[in-house]
Symmetry: C2
Subunit: 733 residues, 2 copies
């Protein structure tokens, strides 16, 4: 495949040689392009005035040497691109000199002194960051290649790039030869430098993995993830094959998908430029392009990724990885004008032919609003391992994420059938996310905190069922990884009822869980009503806890809440040890309602169809937290004791707001006067919502036979209902 | 004084008759004016389509009848103004018909059924709201007066306005005849309708109060405020005289000043139009105009009032009262173009000649940026009862409010020498504000909560000294009202050190407190350092607690914090019963540092010059709160036990930020390596700040002899310092 003319065609990796002339004559035409180039020139022209610094590696994430090496690769990549666009030598000199500095020290570097990673790097504490360095530096190298002398090229390749590529693969197979985002970075680092050097051996190693390595089946990394399983595949193509579902969902979740997309996409772009025969963007039915769409849809309305699994809140489609993703998907995809809308929001483009094309489209008004939709994303490489549903309201900026995926590799949480709810880009019913402060050195050097395992991953940290105060799969990763939840049915076709049902049979052996989540329009009510029905059947009696975490301050509870004069943790393990028990109420009526106000001055109400004797346990996160690693988070747990079968039913409304300037409340109360399970058997659940105006709406969901064309016929309260399909919803009075 | 031609000259109260022609030919020239008129037309043209509803009063604040009557007067006032501007009859008809409906029911109305106010109203649960109604309705009546028949005028005056004016004054002297914002509303209500009706008796009653009333000296209202003191003055002029300081500070604080300014200013405008001989805007050296400036300066950088005393957070200069205030101050003041800048931010103007003038200035570009400054506002009608200082940084958007006022009438808190700190309009070191959800019916009908007294007013709720776990003046209002703190010196002239010192001798008999707060520039440090030195001398040994409330999550403490497995309240009374004791550290080094991150991803550090054995008690607000009335609020209390003399010294830095999108920390740590009291005697305190780069800065403050021209000479650590004036600040190495 090697082409003898390669050296004449530099740059070739990201910036296509053919595109050079266009890029060099691109200024003062396309505002988005100009803005990006000028911002980069402003930033980098300052940077290259400072002396180059390549310190001996010492610090953890957030510390000085870590940040320096990270800034070095980010700056070098930008400078190299600016060299190609402006043809101004100082940019090339800066990159050349920096790379030569690295070449001086690299071969003699020992492993990084910080020993805590399963795969220690040399420049950074973990190989992952070294791979990041190489992915960016490969681009920098490629872009200044034409400026280098043959001797400089030889020094860099022999003393820096080949040794680093070998270190990241041959010398650390536990890092390179996995199905994991770490390995993707490793594969791409090796592949990118392979492409830049035209080194077929490295390219093949990147694409297909190493055939033999020294890892052992069953070995795990320091996050508890498998390093090697039986029949394990490896390499870039395997990492593209396995973790991505046919819908483009990446099994680790959007936070890591965002992180992984950058290497996937830049390597794809490099391959497309240098190995178009591979048709990488068409691979697996264009999964890379689908993945960009999936990722963009897995954001709240201000662009923040839903923080499921180990996701840090606040990461969004404004990240540099998504700028790149949007541009690449536009250019190598169908030139979708709604991606241009996002690029305009992002305010910058990737500095190559992809970004130029986006900026041209923006300048030409070839733009359509980017629209969010309700969607189903299947999980699993074949799309048959559960999934993720996003339900969006047509009348409010209300977004609900329902998760019934597989485990999600080592960054997955024990959160089967959990959900989270967002309004106007703010959390209403939050997912806790991770217990980590990425790159905040004060907190364990920016690494995962112990509480990620003791709290964030545990089931009780999520809005889903906990049986007998134990986490799903007893918190065992291997068991969790062997199973997945199951989609039963979904229907998003009608604004008046968007509905999903999923089941989980394995989280608690002998217990089956069926959860239906719907967003309903109710006559006479101007906002949607989120309905949540969770039915549990077990072959033995258990205690069932259903936590509901909320943001804000409870204003009113329609039950007497007993709050004691001291606080104790709710339990001793599985996350319960981190919850202060702040109050308890015993349900003495059919409905329990909570009304609260959040920091954005919105009013919410949860109406729970509690049964006599159910407990409502009010909790505050923060117990057993010696280093103050946990965030504050209030919640309420519905508890049903010693029962085989149970149905939890709840309605959640986002119904009003308070204006602290006019000091007026509007819509301070929910619309429902009653919520009642009127029927529950093996085949159906019937739920009636009654509004304060007296309207009664029934939702009947099927628990079996969900086909679209199946006819159903049932009688509830002496009234007969006949319908076709998985659910019936309508007024009954 | 009455002018026989009055009836021909309507409108006359707010809209000057002379201005009518200009107002009626004002459209399509001045965008701000157009925007306001159009927004009002859009709102009110919908409103007047609905049928008029004047329900029999029943509900508390936030409830239906309360909100209806409130909307009625707001809508009627707007409609009446639109009638004058557009000359369209439906607006006048709406107001006329509504007023006639009120006239039908008013005379037979009993007191409002809710008995909890010391001065129950008829339309609302308290006279205060009835007075609001009349202040707005007087304007509405005046503006449609020319549309009414003599018979209608007679009905309205006899059956509605005179009875209501008499009810609010003669029949409720405990409401009308006080020095209090309630009385201001009462006075203005009576005065406005008096002006509108040309009723001299009512005008005089409003201006000068009632000579004889049935209240008793020492009687108090339901907030604990005095209704009548010996030698009490009353009426509008007395209410303008007493609570306003010569600097325009209103002793209740900005939240109530905002509320009171509206009646003060609209009545002043009415008087200026109908009784220009009174020269009301020049009264007390133009105190009304100074008050508008003071109020605008008492806001954080996004316009929110500093929430001292009973202030609800989020109230801001965007409120309708401040739109009115800015416009009136512009028109009747010096036509200050920086007020036009604020009006543009507010996005609306008052619909009369004042707002038209502002909109014209905006359209003509007669605008200067509104600038915040460091300022001193004296308290007390003579300006000799302590005060309030706002220190603003020249390099950061950092604002510090230091409070050493008098008690502030019944809405005052026991917070002598307390301070709060803001960055970019967000709280860093917050003042708790009040314990109330104004107009949120779920919370005690929107009224004050019990926790306002048990927590919000108590000293421990503030960032100031608590002796022996008791509040200042033992929480006794009468004692507090008899005293005030004392300004010692201030100097805001130099950016490198802005400094204030104040003392309090009476909060704890036998104990004197001297607090110096400074905002310092330190060489080599790019942000300011806030320094806080609190020196206490007592004739007996006491326990001294200095709380520091912060917003966010503590990342690091340089001491071992013991956190137990259960939480108990820190005390049993005076606010301590509401604090969970979440951890404790014992100072074992000279400095204790806390590093935290807030919700806006800013890093802060507090460096405390603790002494061996000092305790640091970590607290979380929320204990003994059965109805969940308290907000979450973390804090740390420095405790010094059994000592007569003590010096607390602390430095606070706002030094960096975290970006969750790039995941980069910048400026994660503070700049100081040491903070030390190197000298403390009766005359001076010397504090040395040492930076991590090794720079040592000394601040010496005088404790006596603060005159600008006093020469000082002292020796610290064998080095002699000579200077003139109240402090010395400079590098010493
Ligand atoms: Ca968001
Ligand atoms: Ca808490
Ligand atoms: Ca603010
Ligand atoms: Mg989670
Ligand atoms: Mg999760
Ligand atoms: Mg206060
Ligand atoms: Mg206060």
């Amino acid at each position: 495949m090697a082409d003898a003319a390669y050296n004449d065609k530099y740059p070739s990796l990201m910036i296509a040689h053919d595109a050079l002339e266009g890029l060099q004559n691109s200024m003062d035409k396309y505002p988005l392009w100009d803005a990006t180039v000028k911002a980069n020139i402003k930033e980098i022209s300052d940077v290259i005035k400072d002396s180059i610094e390549v310190p001996i590696p010492k610090d953890m994430a957030g510390g000085y040497t870590h940040t320096r090496h990270k800034n070095n690769y980010l700056n070098a990549q930008k400078a190299a691109v600016l060299y190609q666009i402006t043809q101004e030598e100082p940019y090339a000199i800066y990159v050349r000199d920096m790379l030569l500095e690295y070449a001086k020290i690299y071969k003699d570097l020992p492993l990084h002194p910080e020993p805590r990673s399963y795969a220690r790097g040399k420049l950074f504490w973990q190989c992952l960051n070294d791979a990041n360095w190489l992915v960016y530096m490969s681009q920098a190298y490629d872009a200044i290649h034409s400026y280098l002398t043959p001797q400089e090229i030889s020094i860099l390749e022999k003393h820096l790039f080949v040794p680093m590529a070998d270190f990241l693969s041959l010398e650390t197979p536990q890092f390179f030869n996995r199905i994991h985002n770490h390995s993707t970075w490793g594969n791409v680092a090796v592949g990118m430098i392979g492409l830049a050097m035209d080194n077929q051996e490295l390219i093949d190693r990147a694409l297909y993995g190493m055939e033999i390595d020294s890892t052992t089946i069953g070995q795990k990394d320091n996050d508890g993830g498998f390093i090697r399983t039986a029949d394990q595949k490896a390499g870039f193509l395997a990492n593209l094959e396995e973790p991505f579902s046919p819908d483009g969902y990446y099994t680790e979740g959007p936070y890591y998908q965002r992180y992984a997309m950058y290497p996937f996409l830049v390597f794809a772009q490099g391959l497309q430029n240098k190995r178009p025969d591979l048709k990488i963007f068409e691979y697996k039915d264009s999964v890379l392009l689908k993945a960009v769409d999936a990722l963009l849809q897995l954001t709240d309305s201000d662009g923040d990724f839903f923080p499921i699994n180990d996701g840090q809140k606040g990461m969004s489609y404004y990240s540099r990885e998504l700028v790149s993703a949007v541009n690449i998907a536009y250019y190598y995809g169908s030139r979708n004008p709604s991606l241009v809308d996002l690029a305009i929001k992002q305010g910058q483009v990737q500095l190559d032919q992809t970004g130029l094309a986006v900026a041209q489209a923006a300048a030409n008004g070839n733009v359509k609003p980017f629209e969010k939709r309700s969607l189903m994303l299947r999980d699993g490489s074949q799309g048959d391992e559960g999934g993720l549903a996003v339900i969006r309201s047509d009348r409010q900026d209300l977004e609900l994420l329902f998760k019934f995926t597989g485990q999600g590799l080592s960054h997955g949480h024990y959160d089967k059938l959990s959900y989270s709810l967002y309004q106007d880009g703010h959390e209403v019913i939050p997912d806790y996310g991770l217990a980590r402060f990425v790159n905040v050195e004060q907190k364990n050097g920016g690494g995962y905190l112990k509480e990620n395992k003791t709290w964030a991953k545990q089931t009780v940290a999520h809005n889903t069922l906990v049986q007998d105060e134990k986490s799903h799969f007893d918190g065992d990763y291997e068991t969790g990884a062997a199973h997945h939840s199951q989609l039963e049915f979904y229907d998003f076709a009608f604004a008046k009822a968007k509905i999903v049902q999923a089941t989980e049979q394995n989280a608690y052996p002998g217990t089956s869980m069926n959860r239906t989540i719907a967003m309903l329009q109710v006559p006479g009510v101007d906002h949607d009503v989120v309905v949540d029905i969770l039915k549990i059947n077990s072959n033995e009696s258990h205690q069932y806890d259903l936590p509901l975490y909320y943001q804000g301050q409870i204003l009113q509870v329609n039950q007497k809440v007993k709050k004691g004069n001291e606080l104790k943790p709710l339990g001793t393990q599985n996350g319960y040890q981190h919850l202060w028990k702040s109050g308890v109420a015993t349900a003495n009526s059919d409905n329990t309602t909570l009304n609260w106000l959040d920091a954005y001055k919105r009013f919410y109400t949860a109406t729970m169809a509690t049964s006599q004797g159910d407990q409502l346990i009010f909790v505050d996160l923060g117990a057993n937290d010696p280093f103050n690693n946990l965030k504050t988070q209030p919640g309420v747990i519905q508890r049903k004791s010693t029962t085989k079968e149970a149905v939890f039913a709840m309605a959640i409304e986002a119904h009003g707001s308070y204006d602290p300037v006019s000091e007026l409340s509007s819509g301070a109360y929910g619309s429902l006067s009653n919520l009642e399970i009127v029927s529950s058997n093996e085949d159906y659940i019937g739920l009636v919502l009654t509004t304060k105006k007296g309207i009664m709406q029934m939702l009947i969901v099927t628990l079996r036979d969900h086909e679209k064309d199946t006819d159903h016929d049932m009688t509830i309260n002496n009234k007969n209902y006949k319908w076709t399909g998985p659910y019936w919803y309508g007024q009954i009075n």
